[in-house]
């Protein structure tokens, strides 16, 4: 607690009024920094302008066309936006995606953080547990997962066999419109390996001295968690939250493999990316798909901006 307090004061006092000489020195440093930044960012800049920007702008242009993959795109103004307004499937797809994101991202983060915290405490067999917990993430979204998911959550799957022991007849989880999305949320939470590993790396980066100092002050573990671990881990929590949101909004593969690409039953798992994929590649309406993609970008962008704004209040940077 006190260690953090000290650092905070240090940071605040560092920003006093500057003398002209200090200003001059700062300007010099700025120039030096700018030159260095150009060098350090050189690969990224080349990538941005050489590889990334072209396709991004091309997709923006196509969003205002009737591009069908095989013929010249024709500029159609806001026709695609107009179409969105009356698009029933788009509404269903947005609802499914938002539910998925809002439910699965927080759960996955909490599970990942709790397990990382548990594993960080030098428990016996740490390496074994860490590997085992990471395994589902290794499997990726393979064909095996699709098969397996039906065997587990199907009408005659393992879950229902288990429920049957208690005399409960469960539904065909993957096949009912009411529960199919739920199984995908379980699937997502189950692959918590990636955020967990990132949390672990973050926990490992917290200097032990802080804990020692806190222990001297008589703080118990709970207090240490709240006043040292969480604040110092907050940049990493923030990272996992932001990237979790960006990634989950774009979820595609899991729904694609589990529903055989349909987003069914009855569009209940029609993720946004899956819908625009169907429009673009199965329906040859790539212009509309591009417009959808930019709508998605606006949504994710808004969520991310909100996150960055809120981060001022809870993310602690040690610099």
């Amino acid at each position: 607690m006190s260690a953090i307090g000290e650092l905070r004061t240090l940071r605040r006092t560092g920003r006093g009024r500057l003398s002209p000489a200090q200003k001059e020195a700062e300007a010099k440093e700025r120039r030096r920094d700018s030159r260095a930044a150009l060098v350090f960012l050189a690969p990224w800049l080349v990538g941005l302008f050489g590889i990334t920007v072209g396709p991004v702008l091309a997709s923006l242009y196509l969003a205002f066309t009737d591009y069908n993959l095989l013929q010249d795109p024709n500029f159609v103004g806001l026709e695609n936006v107009q179409r969105m307004l009356g698009d029933e499937r788009l509404g269903r797809s947005l609802a499914a995606t938002l539910t998925y994101v809002v439910v699965s991202v927080p759960i996955q983060l909490v599970v990942a953080l709790a397990l990382a915290y548990l594993l960080d405490r030098g428990i016996r067999g740490l390496a074994f547990y860490r590997s085992v917990l990471y395994l589902p993430s290794l499997l990726g979204a393979s064909v095996a997962i699709a098969v397996l998911w039906r065997l587990v959550f199907g009408g005659e799957g393992l879950v229902n066999a288990f429920l049957g022991l208690f005399g409960i007849t469960g539904p065909a989880w993957v096949a009912e419109p009411e529960t199919a999305l739920g199984t995908l949320i379980v699937l997502h939470v189950w692959t918590f390996g990636a955020p967990m590993v990132i949390f672990l790396a973050g926990l490992r980066q917290i200097p032990r001295q802080y804990y020692d100092a806190a222990a001297t002050d008589g703080a118990n573990r709970w207090q240490q968690l709240r006043s040292i671990t969480l604040p110092l881990l907050s940049p990493i929590i923030f990272f996992n939250l932001v990237l979790g949101l960006i990634g989950t909004f774009q979820s595609f593969t899991q729904a694609y493999i589990v529903s055989n690409g349909s987003g069914g039953p009855t569009d209940s798992t029609l993720f946004f990316s899956l819908y625009l994929y169907q429009e673009g590649f199965a329906g040859f309406r790539m212009g509309y798909a591009s417009a959808l993609a930019w709508l998605l970008l606006l949504i994710i962008g808004a969520f991310t901006a909100l996150n960055f704004w809120a981060s001022k209040y809870w993310v602690f940077y040690d610099d």
């Binding site: 702008l57 242009y61 993959l69 009408g155 349909s262």
Partner: protein, 438 residues
């Protein structure tokens, strides 16, 4: 200062990318096609699993032996990855020269100028070995764009082992009516006590819908490429499914929804959970091979006294087509000609791509076939004999017809829509997709 310049560069680079899209290229006139004198490299692509890859690679080798100047570069993948890759390469005017096609997508590509007009290269490609009404299924707007490889009707696959196991007599399938069919299906469900079902209903793919419509003198699409089906036909198609679920002949909606779109190996037919299902004949040998413990038969659909004859037709299971952007249209046509006419290729392919459309090859293959292959061949011959005119193929813009059907089917199954509501909504959505494609 350097900002405007940078902006120009950006817009410029995006524009180059847009200009690189296929539509902006100008396809050479196929009528001028001639064989080039030098070495030629052709690319060919198909979807399938391992067995097909091997057979096709063997056929390519035969072709290269006969045409030493031509090198053929193959590429292949599974079904879903195939169409993603094909669309991407076609969009970038980089489509392989020779392409395996499905009738769902044929008009969507041909109607937008992506495919080579094969009628314009008769000196290199002779498709006359194929029956007229089979070739008709490869034409778009009166021009031949794709040569059918294999053909089959849509049949009822019976798992006779299940009939035997549950003590239900196999109906006389030469004369059976829909009532006979229903009775047999209900008997199986009842006798098995829930272990198996009498029928896996149709409801979610356009082939069975087409046959169902033709039994009622209706068609899904008309010759102009418009949606022609009567909403009553479509409603009856789904009502039939609901009736089977209701009577216990078919499993419940959740079970069916779980089955929809599953790979063949995981479906109820192969796993012995259903006694009768509606299947494209081309899948029969694969079904039989995947379930060696069961005996299967493939037979024609039941009929009623008023059913018009000729509702069946040999539908191409897949095609060969060529890219309109090909730099070597003559050689591409030559390769297709070889693949459809060479007897050695026919031997290499066997029935893996369905019963060959070429009737001479059917006869050649017969002695080499196993039992399942022979049954599939007999069924195809029977379909060909009873065949009416081939229906118009899936028009430009309707490539999603199967996924659309499947979506509305689920809404009907789960009671979200009545068959009548679903029929109207389906027809409206399909029609607007077709119209949007122009």
């Amino acid at each position: 200062m350097e900002r405007p310049a940078r902006r120009t560069v950006l817009v410029g680079s995006a524009l180059t990318l847009v200009l690189g899209l296929a539509g902006c290229g100008i396809a050479p006139d196929p009528a001028d096609a001639e064989l080039s004198d030098g070495e030629v490299t052709l690319s060919i692509t198909w979807w399938g699993a391992d067995a097909r890859h091997q057979a096709t690679l063997d056929a390519i080798e035969l072709f290269e032996k006969e045409h030493p100047r031509i090198t053929v570069e193959p590429t292949y993948s599974d079904w879903s990855g195939y169409w993603d890759r094909l669309a991407t390469t076609a969009a970038a005017a980089d489509m392989p020269d020779v392409v395996q096609f499905d009738q769902l997508y044929l008009s969507s590509y041909a109607g937008r100028g992506a495919l080579l007009d094969l009628d314009a290269v008769p000196q290199f490609l002779d498709a006359s070995s194929l029956p007229e009404n089979v070739l008709a299924s490869g034409t778009v707007d009166g021009r031949l764009y794709a040569v059918p490889i294999g053909v089959a009707g849509n049949g009822v696959v019976l798992n006779t082992s299940l009939f035997e196991k549950y003590g239900v007599p196999v109906p006389d399938t030469d004369t059976w009516t829909w009532d006979d069919f229903d009775a047999a299906a209900e008997a199986i469900s009842e006798a098995s006590g829930g272990e198996a079902y009498g029928v896996s209903p149709f409801g979610w793919e356009s082939f069975s819908l087409g046959i169902f419509a033709r039994q009622r003198g209706d068609e899904l699409f008309d010759a102009e490429g418009d949606v022609a089906i009567d909403p009553d036909t479509l409603a009856a198609y789904w009502q039939q499914e609901l009736d089977w679920i209701e009577s216990g002949a078919a499993p419940d909606a959740a079970h069916l929804s779980e089955q929809q779109g599953l790979p063949l190996d995981q479906g109820d037919t192969v796993l012995g959970r259903t006694a009768m299902s509606f299947q494209p004949g081309g899948l029969f040998t694969a079904i039989a091979a995947a379930a060696p413990d069961f005996d299967y038969e493939i037979v024609d659909w039941p009929t009623d006294p008023g059913t018009p004859p000729g509702f069946q037709y040999p539908k191409p299971s897949m095609y060969w087509a060529a890219s309109s952007q090909s730099e070597h249209p003559a050689e591409a046509a030559l390769l297709i000609d070889f693949l459809v006419n060479d007897p050695e290729v026919a031997q290499a392919f066997g029935t893996e791509r369905g019963i060959p459309a070429n009737e001479q090859f059917q006869a050649d293959l017969e002695p080499t076939l196993d039992e399942a292959g022979r049954k599939a061949l007999t069924f195809t011959e029977q379909v060909t004999d009873r065949s009416g005119n081939a229906p118009p193929i899936t028009p430009n813009g309707a490539s999603e017809v199967d996924t659309m059907l499947s979506r509305y089917n689920q809404r009907v199954q789960f009671g979200d829509l009545t068959p009548e509501q679903a029929a109207d909504a389906f027809i409206e959505e399909l029609r607007s997709a077709v119209e949007a494609a122009g």
